[in-house]
């Protein structure tokens, strides 16, 4: 397992300027979540973005990002039921172009972390393209993929955490790893739950021999 990581190729710095040899437990992360009008990539769009900064396992509660935006497509009644964001709440909000700059700045220099993050990233990329931004340079890892990897390489870790048959959604995992879940269901609170899950994963990954960001990205790519 060790040799596998050591062999890894690529330069010292990723495209985003992040030092890939940084140890897992001191690297900068942005844990994020978005809420969407729906899951149809062509018809739907982002309603809110929530994100928290982490340094290693430490969640910086004072450094958070949360914005509700006026979606570029229609809010559907189905999505309103899920995230409880209504037309009247989004009417006065800026479109996503109004918050993109500050969001990208918030993410600067950090590895992006999320649960089923590819979905969020795909919508984000679509919006960025639409409003004329380039693509997101930050490397990203998916907590769901990390969990999958750990369940296959769990080594000494307790098997109670890794049962293939179980649901892999955020809240099922939160429950399993004893992450407290309460408060409203929004992009920031979900990012907070994801961050706490990732907190626990970092410690487990280290005991499994995952040392650096480079190692992490290898096993956790969305």
């Amino acid at each position: 397992m060790f040799s596998l990581f050591r062999k890894s190729s690529g330069g010292l710095l990723a495209a985003s300027g992040i030092d890939m040899s940084m140890p897992l437990d001191s690297a900068p992360y942005v844990v994020m979540d978005t809420e969407l009008t729906g899951l149809d990539f062509r018809k739907d769009s982002i309603v809110s973005v929530g994100a928290l900064r982490m340094t290693g396992t430490r969640i910086e509660l004072g450094r958070s990002f949360y914005e509700v935006v006026r979606p570029s497509t229609e809010l559907t009644s189905k999505s309103i039921v899920i995230h409880e964001i209504t037309h009247s709440e989004t009417e006065q909000k800026p479109g996503i172009e109004g918050i993109m700059e500050s969001f990208l700045r918030f993410c600067e220099g950090a590895v992006i972390v999320g649960h089923f993050i590819s979905l969020d990233l795909r919508f984000l990329a679509k919006e960025m393209k639409r409003i004329g931004y380039g693509s997101l340079k930050n490397p990203a890892v998916d907590t769901c993929v990390l969990h999958e990897w750990m369940s296959q390489n769990r080594g000494d870790l307790s098997s109670k955490y890794f049962n293939d048959a179980e649901s892999k959604d955020l809240f099922a995992l939160a429950k399993k790893f004893q992450v407290p879940v309460h408060g409203a269901h929004n992009a920031l609170m979900d990012a907070y739950v994801t961050a706490q899950l990732f907190q626990r994963f970092i410690n487990m990954l280290i005991t499994l021999g995952v040392r650096t960001l480079r190692d992490l990205l290898r096993i956790g790519k969305p």
Binding site: L61, G62, L188, R200
Partner: protein, 637 residues
């Protein structure tokens, strides 16, 4: 972010020293903390490593603090759990970490960085003080004021106005008259009912106004109005009312605002009474002093009866006014003493002069002046040694009847009988002084379990009424005969060591696992009892006369080694546990459920929990010291 921050603020608001900070300070902290997670077994801080950059507050889980000696031995200093902090010393010391800290459970911590911690320390002295001073001593005042605040709306000397509800004070019935009555008829009704105000109803039984003494003075006498005029012409309008659940100061405010002396009291929309400025003045007079006068004015058992219930109400008020536990128990004892004396006076009147002089003594908690609300009888009679067989016969007969009468009188006055029959009405505890001396000497010289049990109860005796020199003589005798009785003391010590405070390994409280009091612990048995027992042991060793635990401590402050070293801490622990207990019982009284000494420690605030733990630890520490001292004597004991 709001939700996450609210969660932090809510948590810190219950954790010392953060709970002493105001809302703005907490908010600024919440905006600057981070959160970390340490799985069980993880080393969070290592001895001799560079100083920590954060103050950590345990949100969930627990850590072990230990140091490793040069030869590699591990010495555990402390276990810390939810609400505790660590890393402060190394944070302000700017040097190395002094101890190892390992998570003994999956642990979540809030982290406050050095700069922000420094900022709070600079602006909030209470914060620094908390960390720097020795623990128990500084908690006590804060815990005390914390409890106190629960029942207080505002500060200041008029506090009682802010803590009593109008409904508790306005006990007067509404006296009323129809609006077509004449002024003279109205005045007559006021005289007959000895009231200074009258509510005027219209024909539909709807209250329309009030007539007061002042109206009679200003609108009738001064204006030379005919008393045959209708009363409705002089009534004051409109009706100013307060709700029975309003605090008294609101009634005062309305009186000032409308320049009136009477306010109607409404409960659930129905007129229930009138409150006057006189009532409010009397409120200040609901003092132990006026109560003592009430007792003095009674001359029959029947007259004493209602006073007993009033006593508990006064204690409740005292507590709300912020009296300290030891003062409250002192006042309770003082008032109880007066009631007992009154019953004895009444008995003396009934039975005539006794054949020989006697002393009525109290012991147990009554002897120590440490009674709370619930007090049963613990009393005895010591009488002077009769000189002839006839006198002996007469004394026996007289005191037997006398004691039974007093017992029954006390039961009527609210003192339930002692279940173990430790009462003067039991012939065994109604004896001439020579027999009492024999009892005492026997218990000291043959300290079997029964003798020990009796000695700890009776040795707290105190003369309460009659020929007090008899009690004084017995006390001198006891002190003389306890000198160098090391076997007796060792037996007492081993008895004490059987009752260890309920503190578990992880500094958690050990509570009852089942039964009626599941998850609860007994404050009297597990906290006050051990302290009282320890202090009694020291007092008997020192040969002092005092019987109350606090007075004993003060008397020994310069003579007994343990009292010298730990006297202040013992006093504070005693105050604290007693205060908890009294508040608990007051709460039960207000909820009208039977009083007991059981509390559920998880229901305490973090500060209270901490203070209780510190108190228990202090007891354990002293008990260990005693075990050391008396080890030899306890062999085979």
């Amino acid at each position: 972010m709001a939700v996450i921050q609210e969660e932090i603020i809510e948590f810190l608001g219950k954790v010392p020293p953060f709970q002493f900070l105001d809302g703005a300070a907490l908010k600024s902290i919440a905006q600057n903390v981070s959160m970390d997670y340490y799985p069980k077994g993880m080393v969070i801080m290592k001895q001799n490593e560079p100083a920590s950059e954060h103050l950590r507050i345990i949100k969930k889980g627990g850590v072990k603090v230990f140091i490793t000696s040069e030869d590699g031995d591990e010495v555990v200093i402390d276990y810390r759990g939810e609400g505790d902090t660590f890393g402060f010393l190394s944070l302000i010391g700017k040097d190395k970490v002094r101890a190892n800290i390992v998570a003994v459970d999956d642990t979540i911590c809030y982290l406050l960085d050095k700069d922000n911690a420094q900022k709070i320390m600079n602006s909030q002295p209470v914060f620094t003080e908390y960390f720097l001073k020795s623990h128990l001593t500084k908690y006590i005042d804060r815990t005390y004021s914390e409890m106190h605040n629960k029942s207080m709306m505002y500060g200041g000397s008029d506090r009682i106005l802010f803590t009593s509800q109008v409904g508790d004070i306005a006990i007067r019935d509404v006296v009323s008259v129809k609006e077509d009555a004449t002024i003279q008829e109205a005045a007559l009704i006021m005289c007959q009912n000895k009231v200074s105000s009258l509510v005027i109803y219209d024909e539909n039984d709807f209250p329309r106004g009030v007539v007061t003494d002042r109206d009679l003075r200003e609108k009738v006498v001064a204006k030379n109005r005919s008393v045959a005029d209708q009363v409705k012409n002089i009534m004051s309008l409109p009706l100013i009312r307060v709700d029975a659940t309003d605090y008294c100061f609101e009634a005062v405010l309305k009186m000032i605002k409308y320049n009136i002396h009477h306010v109607l009291v409404v409960r659930d929309g129905v007129l229930k009474g009138v409150i006057t400025n006189h009532d409010l003045m009397l409120l200040q007079g609901t003092s132990p002093l006026s109560f003592a006068k009430d007792i003095e004015n009674q001359h029959t058992l029947e007259g004493l009866e209602p006073l007993a219930t009033k006593l508990n109400k006064i204690i409740g008020l005292l507590l709300k006014e912020g009296a300290k536990a030891s003062n409250i128990t002192k006042i309770i004892s003082e008032l109880n003493d007066r009631l007992v004396k009154k019953v004895l006076e009444i008995a003396e009147k009934k039975f005539g002069a006794p054949p020989v002089s006697y002393c009525w003594v109290a012991y147990g908690s009554e002897g120590r002046k440490e009674q709370t609300f619930k007090t049963d009888q613990d009393n005895a009679i010591i009488y002077a040694d009769p000189k002839t067989p006839e006198q002996e016969e007469a004394a026996k007969k007289y005191f037997a009847e006398f004691a039974v009468f007093v017992r029954d009188g006390l039961i009527k006055s609210g003192f339930p009988p002692c279940e173990a029959n430790y009462m003067a009405s039991n012939p065994q505890w109604c004896q001439p002084i020579s027999v009492w001396k024999k009892y005492f000497l026997g218990w000291i010289q043959h300290p079997n379990p029964e003798a020990l049990l009796r000695s700890v109860i009776f040795f707290d005796f105190r003369g309460l009424y009659g020929n007090l020199s008899l009690a004084g003589e017995l006390r001198e005798y006891l002190i003389r005969n306890l000198k160098d009785q090391n076997i007796f003391f060792a037996r007492i010590a081993s008895l004490i060591l059987k009752n260890r405070p309920p503190l578990g390994f992880f500094r958690s409280f050990t509570v009852n696992k089942e039964g009626e009091h599941k998850d609860q612990l007994n404050l009297k048995l597990s906290g006050i009892g051990p302290l009282v027992d320890l202090i009694r042991l020291f007092a008997l060793e020192s040969g002092i006369h005092e019987t109350s635990s606090m007075e004993r401590l003060h008397a020994m402050k310069e003579s007994h080694p343990i009292a010298i070293e730990l006297g202040d801490e013992i006093e504070q622990a005693f105050e604290f546990i007693n205060l908890l207990r009294i508040h608990h019982q007051l709460d039960q009284m207000e909820r009208k459920v039977p009083l007991d000494n059981f509390i559920n420690p998880t229901k305490l605030s973090n500060l209270e929990k901490k203070s209780l733990k510190e108190s228990f630890q202090l007891i354990l520490r002293i008990q260990d010291g005693i075990a050391e001292i008396y080890r030899a004597g306890m062999v085979g004991g």
